[in-house]
Symmetry: C3
Subunit: 307 residues, 3 copies
């Protein structure tokens, strides 16, 4: 018999976006640009092979629910097959990197890791940012050893005339309310190296998350130093969250740009699978001379449904 799970999520919101040098626009957001998350659907499953071994796969399309268009490539979200067992998990294909997992830890209590999270929307991208997904990856994740875990990606080239390989590593400790982890990603195409230190703690009445990242680039690209912190407060069906982030880029010893931003959000769960939400995010970027090069304000109200 077949063992496929068909799943998905549709997220749409209406709100306003104000950018530097432009008037305020009232518009509909497809989720990833002004909501909780990008809309998606996918196929996933696992097969029990005996002796604790499992075959696993996942294929995930991302799309813009505003106009029905598919994002590119078709299975942008993930396209993997692998084996899972006592030894951990080995997968082949396209997916997010283990470094992205560590970034996600630092946003776990930061305005729902959404379009309202300032770190991942504008602030950290002001100096250029890592690629969250790679094609042609061999990936390995250990099982948890009393809370300790580690993982590795290596993206192969598939074009002998270029060097577009990527290597990423993660190592962390997750036990009870505490999650602390370190990530590294080396992108050979740009020669940018990323390091992230992330932490999250669940205090019960609230949870907090924080992250500190560095990008070590070439002399031309410069280096980034980045920080973010967030707090999430659950109040029954309501969740309130806030986040702050700042970033600095240095080239040749001088600051070439500075960015900071904050976000606020609230969700109301109509069920486990359906929530209404509102969010606000602002961030600004200044160049080395102190001139604003970006000043963005986003506000939106929306709905997310999981199936």
């Amino acid at each position: 018999q077949s063992s496929v799970t068909l799943y998905g999520r549709v997220d749409l919101s209406v709100g306003s976006l104000k950018e530097l040098g432009k008037g305020s626009e009232t518009k509909m957001f497809q989720g990833g640009d002004g909501g909780l998350t990008t809309s998606r659907w996918g196929l996933r499953g696992s097969e029990d092979l005996g002796g604790g071994l499992k075959a696993i796969y996942k294929l995930e399309n991302r799309f813009n629910a505003t106009d029905g268009s598919s994002q590119d490539p078709f299975f942008k979200g993930e396209s993997t097959v692998g084996l899972s067992g006592g030894f951990g998990t080995v997968r082949l294909g396209r997916s997010t990197t283990v470094y992205d997992d560590i970034r996600a830890v630092s946003y776990s209590a930061n305005v729902f890791d959404s379009a309202f999270t300032p770190a991942s929307n504008g602030v950290f991208k002001s100096g250029g940012d890592y690629n969250s997904r790679f094609n042609n990856m061999i990936s390995y994740e250990t099982p948890s050893f009393g809370g300790f875990y580690a993982g590795l990606n290596h993206a192969l080239d598939n074009d002998s005339t270029k060097n577009e390989t990527m290597t990423a590593l993660k190592a962390g400790y997750k036990n009870g309310p505490l999650h602390a982890a370190l990530g590294y990603q080396n992108e050979r195409k740009t020669d940018d190296k990323y390091v992230a230190l992330s932490g999250a703690y669940d205090l019960g009445a609230a949870s907090i998350s924080a992250g500190y990242n560095q990008r070590n680039g070439t002399d031309a690209n410069g280096d980034d130093t980045e920080f973010t912190v967030g707090v999430n407060v659950p109040l029954g069906a309501v969740n309130l969250s806030a986040g702050y982030a700042n970033s600095k880029t240095e080239k040749g010893g001088a600051t070439s740009s500075k960015s900071s931003g904050f976000g606020l959000g609230a969700t109301y769960s109509l069920s486990k699978r359906t929530r209404l939400y509102g969010g606000y995010r602002t961030h600004e970027v200044k160049n080395g001379a102190g001139t604003k090069t970006a000043d963005t304000r986003l506000f939106a109200l929306g709905i997310r449904h999981d199936f």
Copy 2:
């Protein structure tokens, strides 16, 4: 657990198409161009949220079954999420407009609202026609109040440099054998305004449908006056249907084009989900000087299967 329904339809036919200035072509039709309907597959579902409230979503791909190509955008048919309850239904995203619903009423007994229906294939398009779907829509439909209903769409711009908003309205009465309804659509991009008055009646031995439409355009676009009527006769597993339509476009007080056509069709149901069909459609368009600018004859035999 998941609550997704995977559904679809494959419609293919073989026939001939004769157009003005071209020989007759024998070809395969993908459904929408020479069959009952365009082939599609999709995901849809609803979640009971308690108190009569439901979360609903629908994602529908349209494709050409002749060659397997997807139509563009990927979820061309629909891409929506919303809430439904005692207050009616609110949805966000891409879908057909409520004006299109009223047009559909006027075709409901007119050669199966198919590629053989002359009104929606050639006759009404001779002067330019409305867009049946819009992106970025906020949509609301009332519940039925003793047969009376209404609905509204507003399409947001999503590009501040243009005004591409659209507003559509519908209001109708549907009770027992009678359905009468009025629709309005204002497309800001072209400044064309459409009004439709539709009616349908089920006599038992036959059902009839009719529609009267007006397009009020700019001086350059001109105005359209359109009429269609159809009849459907069910005979056990067989359905026979015929339709007629005419259209006139006026610019600056003078008639710039005239169009008329008729269609005939028969379906034979092998089951509720599978039917064989045959259809014939002809339409011609003449310009203000009385010269034919289109003269089309379509004949096809096909099969439609729903899943």
Copy 3:
């Protein structure tokens, strides 16, 4: 109720490819280019219409699991609807041709009819090869009459300015361990005509398959004479297989190119739906003067999972 089966296959491998004039590349293969098969997912189903009659459909997407991209057109694998009964099977739409079925018989014990099968990867393509799928096809297959069967495809033109029709035929005998069949395909666009004679026999301890093909082209395209043979040895969960193929192209009575190659492969079944595999393929092509124009070595290890 719905009667749709959602199915698929993910196949990924890692290995090396060495081509004439290039260094050896280590890369990930999407399945079709260095594994057992191209990754895919699809929708298929049948509806019982009573009296032995069934409605059938199949829609199959092919994709590159290495990067998640869809192959083009979207339902490249198949897009058909039809009826099946005591009279045989009639289908409309896009699919593989019946000639391709006969080619497949000749590869049935030849390195798993995979990217490691030399005949279908490089050797037979050295002189140009047939198109395995066509759009706009009317297809018919007889039932089996005591083992004897036949089939027919006719691809319609869908563009009156060109002649791109195709006609294909097959006839065979399959009973117990023996399968012998003949195929023919006439592609009007290139004026190439293909004939294939295929056989397969299951000896129990091993199965063998062989094929002899001819392409009769225009004077400019030339003619091909092709041969392949393969053997498959099942050893419990392991399957070992080897294949050999050669091809010769003649233009104006002179040999314009010669090609040969062999392949080796092994699969290990973790379950009916999941297998690990390794394979090796080499082929070379020489032109009329005896100069090598291609010299390819492929080696890969991978995993295939069906769902």
